[in-house]
Assembly symmetry: C2
Homo-oligomer: 182 residues x 2
DNA sequence: CAAAATAGACCGACTGGTCTGTAAATTTTT
DNA sequence: AAAAATTTACAGACCAGTCGGTCTATTTTG
């Protein structure tokens, strides 16, 4: 794995735990064991450029996880598996890993606009992917329902992390039926 | 308004825009026009103590807003008014103001545990308040439904902010019925 | 007077970023 | 193919500025 890729991956991990401002480049450098010159060689525009790429990288990785969970399953079964992915991530990280995008998106209004756009695009990708999934399985009004399900899952993720209790995510398994049948 | 209170209020505002790490004490001091000595007189333990108080303050202020929106209205009407409060806040701040608690809670796993507890308590207060509201209006299974509604609203807030589009919040007005009737 | 509050100079640590330099690759020229 | 020139990548000392925090001195209040 080359230097550039390791920088992006590690940044993605750190950003998830501490957000944009909480993740310093010196910390990244120390973690990857790479000198400063290398970072600014690969990312001439510095921190913003690196984090933007890390967001896209992390978002894509997450989408793959969700895609694997959904693949080849019925609607409810697939969505349940997707929620299980979130639950496992919270537990595995001792509730330190936030949703990789939300961790930055919440402060995005005060950061470089391109970073907000990157968050926006990742969210849109997730939602489109889910929308297609629902549609292929004959769910009516798939576009709107996928938006609603994402809002629910996102909120449950945030609350479960803050409370250090996965009950909010588990609750989604119960209430998703009401949305799908609406 | 005395110094201490102004410090807490301003910190609450700044934290909402930039989170825990993004809000520096020098910036707070400059904004409130107060010298450092005053801050450390009122908050001997420094930044953590100040932010912890700002979280509680901001959370309470938000609860009052929601309470006013709900008061004396029927279930759906009240919840719609509550969503309107969120929408107005996003628009008024040009999508810069996040949910005051989520802005910190997402990184809380890496900060002082007391700050996470403060976030936790505010969230619990909101949810209990909503739970009572639903119960008084004869909604069945009020506890669980209030948890679900909060998860939905929280997620819609995050997504609407990230996309700079209030459609996710508006969508809640449509789907809340499915939850209430479940 | 004493206590509370204000005031800000000052501290070491750390911030993101620049700069100069070296060592391999890769390409160009002969 | 060998030599020369150029580009890519790695390396880290160094910079001004800011971080959160301490400390002492002064002013205000009761």
């Amino acid at each position: 794995m080359d230097t550039r890729e390791r920088l992006v991956e590690t940044t993605s991990k750190l950003v998830r735990k501490k957000g944009y401002f909480g993740t310093g480049i010196n910390e990244i450098l120390k973690s990857v064991e790479v000198p400063k010159g290398s970072l600014y060689h690969h990312f001439p525009k510095g921190k913003d450029e690196l984090i933007q790429e890390a967001i896209l990288y992390g978002g894509e990785a997450q989408m793959l996880k969700y895609g694997n969970a959904l693949r080849g399953k019925g609607v409810e079964e697939g969505l349940n598996a997707m929620i299980d992915v979130m639950i496992e991530e919270l537990l595995a990280s001792n509730f330190e890993d936030a949703c990789p995008i939300a961790a930055v998106a919440l402060a995005s209004g005060t950061i470089d606009e391109r970073i907000r756009k990157a968050c926006d695009n990742v969210f849109k990708g997730w939602q489109n992917s889910l929308s297609g999934y629902l549609e292929r399985r004959g769910v009516s009004n798939a576009e709107e329902k996928s938006q609603q399900l994402y809002a629910m899952f996102e909120g449950a993720y945030v609350l479960s992390q803050a409370h250090q209790d996965v009950k909010y995510l588990l609750l989604q398994k119960k209430f998703m039926k009401s949305i799908l049948e609406a």
